[in-house]
């Protein structure tokens, strides 16, 4: 047991206690949390800074509005409903089409209007929100993912999680929904996490439920060695989110849309630690490096260049 702990320390693996004590508590001012915990505010903030986000169709704030849901949704055949204060991807409903009065979910199931309305009122009651506070439900554009990632995904939209420390992207992974995760891109729900080489945007190994794998569990396709398009743009987008929120340590979730390019889905002030398993590397050495050099890195371009140069995994091998 101690040997294992020792080896993990030497690999520079970041544990939950250390992440809380030395990164989130130390670098993320409490007053900035609402900016990322409330997805509506994140969206507004991003728009004002000119960062692309999925278009907002509507917000439902009170129970009474759920009655007008059909009218509000009238024009759209596909959309996403999510809690504004959701955590861990809970409560997100993806509708891909319609069949008369029914809505088709991304997993193929049909939902009646009544069920949809109940889901929205569940969101409003705060069941999915952090701390159970009353919440708002957002209805937004459903991302049509880039066909370039088609070969490695299965149902739902793959997204790219980039950890940004003091404005420098330090580690990234692609999160692929699986049958088990019900179309959601969250690792603890059974999504697949694939490490990404910071220099080139090429996928490395994958982690599925704490195990290292190299094929997608549903399709059997290899998920290794896929090059993510527009990698530099993605890194810049992530790096700019630091100025947006002032959070020192955050996770930026980006999706690649077929028509609109990279869109920032959400920001996370307490990003998970599984990204280390996906990349088979500890976060600590990279975080130390950034802490030493971040004063010299002013512009977004400098920070991205630093990340691409320092955190190149492929060359190491």
């Amino acid at each position: 047991m101690f040997r294992l702990a020792e080896r993990l320390v030497s690999t520079g693996v970041l544990g939950l206690n250390r992440r809380n004590a030395e990164y989130t508590l130390a670098w993320n001012p409490r007053s900035r949390y609402p900016l990322v915990d409330d997805k509506l505010r994140t969206k507004e903030l991003a728009l004002s800074a000119g960062i692309a986000v999925p278009e907002l169709y509507g917000v439902i704030e009170i129970e009474r509005q759920t009655r007008d849901l059909p009218a509000l949704l009238g024009a759209y055949t596909d959309f996403v409903i999510k809690p504004s204060h959701g955590s861990g991807g809970d409560g997100i409903l993806v509708i891909t089409g319609r069949l008369r009065d029914m809505y088709r979910r991304s997993n193929g199931q049909l939902m009646t209007r009544e069920e949809l309305r109940y889901h929205v009122s569940q969101i409003l009651s705060g069941i999915y929100s952090l701390g159970g506070h009353p919440d708002k439900a957002l209805i937004e554009y459903r991302v049509k993912f880039d066909p370039l990632l088609d070969s490695i995904s299965y149902q739902g939209v793959p997204d790219i999680r980039i950890i940004v420390f003091l404005g420098v992207p330090v580690m990234a992974m692609v999160r692929l929904p699986t049958r088990m995760s019900d179309g959601k891109a969250n690792l603890h729900q059974g999504a697949l996490g694939v490490g990404v080489d910071m220099a080139t945007g090429t996928t490395l190994t994958a982690v599925w439920r704490n195990d290292v794998v190299s094929e997608h569990p549903d399709t059997g396709n290899s998920v290794v060695g896929v090059k993510i398009p527009n990698w530099e743009v993605l890194l810049e987008l992530a790096a700019r989110c630091h100025e947006l929120t002032d959070l020192g340590y955050q996770g930026v979730d980006i999706v690649l849309d077929r028509d609109k390019g990279p869109l920032v889905l959400e920001l996370n002030a307490r990003p998970g630690l599984n990204i280390q398993i996906a990349n088979r590397a500890g976060l600590l050495p990279r975080l130390y490096l950034v802490e030493q050099h971040h004063k010299e890195l002013v512009s977004v371009e400098e920070r991205v260049a630093f990340a691409r140069k320092q955190f190149c995994t492929l060359k190491e091998r």
Binding site: L4, A5, L16, N17, E22, S121, I277, R280
Partner: protein
């Protein structure tokens, strides 16, 4: 700077805690272990009432001592009241009076008693004149035939009294007994009728009110006993069985039919009694030394509190200990639990229910509640009404469990009422959400995690020695607090994280 603060605090808290502890142990000689069981108890009666701005007079029976217990000392704690101790028949009465009082008042009577082991038979006494039984009309005839029947069947006093109370205690009493009891089945009514029937048969008899003296007890119930005179001495009988004899730990308080406390000039009377085994002589001696060495220290110690409150703190002081354990389980081991302090409260409830029963009852309530909650999911209710519905279900479940286990004769089942029900409700709600969102395995995992922490907390919190240590040396909690502060800065791995990141360790040998 602020990074160093926790360490500074931790060191100074440890220093203060250990310093006080060592001072008490080394210089004042407080014993580190609870000694042998002593035969000294402190008995306390608390009388509370609301005065109406009139002269107030409170008369209460006080201890006279008995064959087995002698009263070592007694005192009356009352601000501004005049106190008198007057004899009344076979009893002693304490009388508090004040010309004018308003608002809520609390009086204490505290006595120190010592048990003496005597094998001598009770003292002889002349038979008193039998008091009139006071039956009339149909009751007179019923009492007459009842005592005649019993006298015809029994040879001596023991047999007679035994038979009488057996009849009184039958679930389906015969006509005479039913008439006399008049539909009431309380023990005090049975005792009252029994004594009067005996008197009707010209046997001197009386009611004794008293308490059982055990280790630590709050809200001690009054227990009635019956005494009958056999011509030479008084003999005691258990009214619930009719058996002769008095239990070892029975402390008679007063005899006769009058109420314990009589109050004029006030209302809303509340009386409660508590008993505690005295901390043995060594602590007494240490405290006497402390009184001389540093008078302030004990003035503000837990021993200066009324016994009732001391009893509360014996338990309350264990809660921080449970919280400390919880911090270790969550932040060092990495167990997942429902709610932050829920396991500690459940562990505390286990103290009353015992472990096996506690786990069983907790499991039953939570699993039935959970299945009902998962059904409620289908009804599509809003959050707060749904939570309220679950609370209803939990309360009804607890009531049903108590009734059921009582019917089955399992006394322990009644203790389900001690579980904090709001906590149970929240547990069920959170568990069901986890169940829906993350799947049953995660929910069961967290449930088991919570139960494990509760069990560990229970085990630690039930060790008598730990209870003793924390109560006698509450300053040790400061040392624990220091530990908590340090754990608050612990940024190493959690034990359960190691297997999670195992894949990362394999790369570099």
């Amino acid at each position: 700077m602020s990074r160093r603060h926790p360490y500074v605090w931790a060191v100074s808290l440890t220093a203060i805690g250990l310093g006080l502890f060592l001072y008490k142990v080394v210089l004042l000689g407080f014993p580190l272990t609870p000694g042998t069981i002593s035969d000294i108890w402190t008995v306390e009666t608390r009388v509370a009432f609301v005065a109406r701005a009139e002269p107030v007079r409170v008369s209460m029976y006080i201890l006279r001592g008995s064959q087995r217990f002698i009263v070592v000392s007694e005192n009356f704690i009352s601000q501004g009241y005049g106190v008198n101790s007057v004899p009344e028949n076979d009893n002693q009465q304490g009388v508090w009076s004040i010309r004018k009082a308003k608002g809520s008042q609390t009086l204490y009577y505290r006595a120190v008693i010592r048990r003496v082991d005597t094998k001598e038979p009770p003292v002889r006494s002349a038979p008193p004149k039998a008091a009139p039984a006071g039956f009339e009309g149909a009751y007179l005839a019923a009492a007459e035939s009842l005592i005649a029947e019993i006298q015809a069947q029994s040879a001596d006093l023991d047999g007679l009294v035994g038979e009488l109370f057996k009849r009184l205690n039958r679930p389906q009493p015969d006509e005479n007994v039913a008439l006399l009891l008049g539909g009431e089945s309380s023990m005090s009514k049975k005792v009252d009728i029994g004594v009067r029937v005996l008197r009707h048969g010209r046997i001197p008899a009386r009611v004794v009110h008293g308490i059982r003296v055990r280790e630590y007890d709050r809200d001690v119930p009054l227990i009635q006993w019956v005494e009958a005179h056999d011509g030479a001495r008084w003999r005691g009988y258990d009214p619930s069985t009719g058996a002769a004899g008095v239990p070892e730990d029975y402390l008679p308080w007063w005899r006769g039919d009058k109420p314990f406390v009589e109050l004029t000039g006030a209302n809303r009377l509340q009386v409660s009694m508590s008993v505690s085994l005295n901390e043995e002589e060594a602590i007494r001696a240490a405290m006497d030394r402390a009184k001389i060495a540093s008078p302030g220290l004990l003035e503000f110690s837990l021993f200066s509190l009324p016994i009732q409150t001391q009893g509360v703190y014996r338990i309350l002081l264990l809660v921080p200990l449970g919280a400390f354990l919880l911090v270790i389980c969550r932040n060092v081991v990495g167990l997942k639990t429902f709610g932050t302090f829920m396991p500690v409260l459940i562990g505390l409830a286990f103290r009353e229910t015992q472990l096996a029963w506690g786990i069983f009852l907790f499991g039953v309530v939570v699993s039935i509640g959970l299945s009902i909650r998962l059904y409620l999911e289908r009804l599509k209710l809003l959050l707060v009404p749904r939570l309220a519905a679950v609370l209803f279900v939990v309360v009804l479940l607890m009531a049903a469990l108590s009734v059921l286990t009582n019917k089955l004769g399992l006394q322990r089942g009644l203790s389900v009422a001690l579980f904090p029900m709001v906590i149970l409700t929240m547990t069920i709600e959170r568990m069901s959400i986890v169940w829906e969102e993350r799947g049953p395995s995660e929910a069961v995992q967290q449930g088991i995690g919570s139960l494990m922490v509760a069990c560990v907390a229970y085990v630690i919190m039930t060790v008598d020695y730990i209870e003793y240590l924390v109560f006698v040396f509450p300053e040790m909690l400061l040392v624990l607090l220091a530990g908590i502060l340090l754990l608050g800065r612990y940024s190493g791995f959690r034990l359960l994280e190691l297997p999670r990141f195992k894949a990362l360790a394999e790369r570099k040998p």
